[in-house]
């Protein structure tokens, strides 16, 4: 009985991330204070995990790569403004193929916006924020329990794909307290990638030799990276699908808003991607059954825009913005 009680904890989403990171055997945490992500740093600072409070978010993300190139698992957490500063580093991580985990506890932006209020405004930033072509893996859990589990999945996906993996939370999940059950999740570790001396560079290079004017080398490298990301993503094909035979409408939502949308499962079929990118392939076949597709999200329709090009059909946007979710407003918007 006492054993079981230990497995059950009452945590906020940010604390659940710390729990997950410890279970994933994190080797370095770096970060810069920012609301609403700071509790992750507070939690790590109280453990024995090496911890570096950086001078800015740029230093935070680059120091992850320093730790990670030695073989350690590394993580940082931030929110919108810091996430923007990290963008150059995220593209860099994809090209140099160094794993890392980045937690973005989203708040209302752009700029300083509404620092304590929840948002899902960083969807574009998480998939196309950096310059050039890259193919990120992005998760969006909707509870402290999932924040804990998907922190571990993020580490696994990063180790497997050798790329920075992003997990999007928001102020609701980050600060909201719920029960978290500990769970066995097998850990993945990259193959030793420092058997001999190695040069990491974000120049277009093959085997550490830069080929900066070779168009064919660029295409080969990009093709290999794309295929790698898509094939690793298949191991993390997480989504929720609730089919309602009476409805001809599919409502797509994710993150904290999906908790409010779940209240309408008697009226609609519901789809909740937990892996936002690469977009879940099954959505193509599932969406064919429905006359109408609604995408509800806490921004002006970022994921909807990307889904339209993915599904090659029009979707209805339901933006729930301003940092708060009111059930009555969600109902009105969905039924309109």
């Amino acid at each position: 009985m006492t054993e079981k009680r230990k497995e059950k904890l009452f945590l906020q989403g940010n604390e659940a991330v710390v729990l997950g990171a410890l279970q994933a055997k994190i080797g370095l945490y770096t970060g810069y204070p920012i609301t609403p992500a700071s509790e992750i740093m507070h939690g790590i600072a109280r453990t024995e995990v090496p911890f570096f409070q950086a001078e800015d978010e740029i230093a935070a993300i680059l120091s992850l790569y320093g730790a990670s190139m030695t073989g350690a698992k590394a993580m940082t957490a931030t929110s919108g403004p810091g996430f923007n500063l990290m963008q150059e580093g995220i593209g860099f991580g994809h090209r140099t193929e160094i794993p890392a985990v980045i937690i973005d506890v989203q708040r209302v932006g752009p700029g300083t916006g509404m620092p304590t209020r929840a948002s899902q405004g960083d969807i574009f930033a998480s998939c196309v924020g950096s310059a050039g072509d890259f193919f990120p893996i992005v998760f969006s859990p909707n509870s402290p329990q999932e924040a804990y589990e998907f922190t571990i999945h993020s580490f696994n996906a990063a180790e497997e794909s050798l790329s920075p993996v992003i997990m999007l939370l928001d102020a609701y999940i980050g600060h909201g307290y719920e029960t978290v059950m500990k769970k066995e999740i097998p850990l993945k570790t990259r193959k030793q990638f420092l058997t001999k001396t190695r040069h990491f560079t974000s120049l277009v290079a093959e085997d550490g030799i830069p080929k900066t004017t070779d168009r064919l080398a660029y295409r080969r490298v990009t093709k290999r990276l794309k295929e790698k990301q898509l094939s690793v993503a298949k191991h993390y094909n997480f989504y929720d699908y609730h089919e309602n035979k009476k409805s001809d409408t599919l409502v797509i939502s994710f993150g904290s808003l999906s908790r409010a949308v779940a209240a309408f499962k008697d009226k609609f079929s519901l789809f909740r991607p937990i892996r936002l990118f690469p977009i879940i392939e099954q959505l193509k076949t599932i969406s064919k059954k429905y006359k109408k597709i609604i995408v509800a999200e806490m921004n002006e329709g970022q994921y909807a825009t990307l889904l339209e090009s993915f599904l090659k059909r029009e979707v209805k946007r339901v933006p729930i913005t301003g940092g708060e979710i009111r059930l009555a407003e969600v109902r009105k918007a969905l039924l309109k």
């Binding site: 080797g27 370095l28 770096t30 090496p50 570096f52 950086a54 001078e55 800015d56 740029i58 230093a59 935070a60 680059l62 120091s63 992850l64 790569y65 320093g66 730790a67 990670s68 190139m69 030695t70 350690a72 590394a74 150059e88 580093g89 860099f92 140099t96 420092l194 001396t197 190695r198 040069h199 990491f200 560079t201 974000s202 120049l203 550490g208 030799i209 830069p210």
Partner: protein, 240 residues
């Protein structure tokens, strides 16, 4: 081990003929060989610019970081591998302009990182623009009527945290070797400012070839021993 053991053989070095970087690169490789430091515990980080390619020329674990972001990478390495040697090899634009914030804070924290700054007083790779290290009145592509901005005083920034500071020049190879040696030996943050010739973006524009540039450097700078402070035209080592 020999100096050559620390040089990566399969890569062609792309620096211009007569560039000062060759000498700094040689001096660092020679010192690593002298220390016989194990390759697996040696990390060389470079940034962007002419010095940016340098990390790829070392046969140790190396990383070419983003512009100005060399020091955070070295900090990350030292956090998880405190016994490793983290060497930052970069240029003045990279370290002292875009990367100054990181340099300042690593100096404040006294992180055990060895920084070798190849200082050619311009942004050379991008076409010889004015840098924070460009002297007053110097004509560059972005100061065609002569530079009016004062130089950055990196020496006092480093010394304000009581860290190791050395200034040397590629025109004085023996002094350069000694500075590299002392910096490697020093426990804690060390910064070596190496005045280095750029025959293409400085020399050609001011009407000098490599030989003339080295002579010019020899006239401009004087070596000082056992000093507590250095003037702008003096080379030396300060340990506090």
């Amino acid at each position: 081990m020999k100096t050559e053991d620390y040089k990566r053989k399969e890569v062609r070095i792309r620096w211009c003929d007569g560039c000062g970087l060759y000498m700094i690169y040689n001096a660092v490789c020679a010192e690593l060989a002298e220390l016989n430091f194990p390759k697996k515990d040696t990390y060389v980080i470079s940034g962007i610019g002419c010095a940016g390619r340098s990390s790829g020329y070392f046969d140790v674990n190396s990383l070419q970081a983003l512009h100005g972001r060399t020091i955070p990478v070295a900090v990350g390495i030292k956090e998880v591998k405190p016994h490793a040697k983290a060497i930052v090899f970069s240029g003045d634009g990279d370290l002292l302009a875009i990367g100054l914030n990181h340099l300042l804070h690593a100096s404040r924290r006294n992180d055990d990182i060895k920084v070798f700054c190849s200082n050619n007083e311009v942004y050379a790779m991008t076409g010889g623009q004015r840098a924070p290290t460009t002297p007053i009145k110097r004509v560059t592509t972005t100061s065609p009527y002569g530079n009016q901005e004062p130089m950055i005083n990196i020496k006092d920034i480093i010394l304000s945290h009581n860290n190791f500071f050395a200034r040397s020049s590629t025109a004085f190879p023996d002094h350069l070797t000694r500075c590299v040696k002392e910096a490697m030996k020093h426990k804690g943050f060390s910064f070596v400012d190496i005045k280095s010739q750029c025959p293409v973006n400085v020399g050609r524009k001011l009407g000098m070839d490599v030989a003339k540039m080295l002579k010019w450097y020899k006239e401009r700078f004087k070596i000082k021993e056992n000093v507590k402070d250095l003037k702008e035209d003096e080379l030396g080592i300060i340990k506090r």
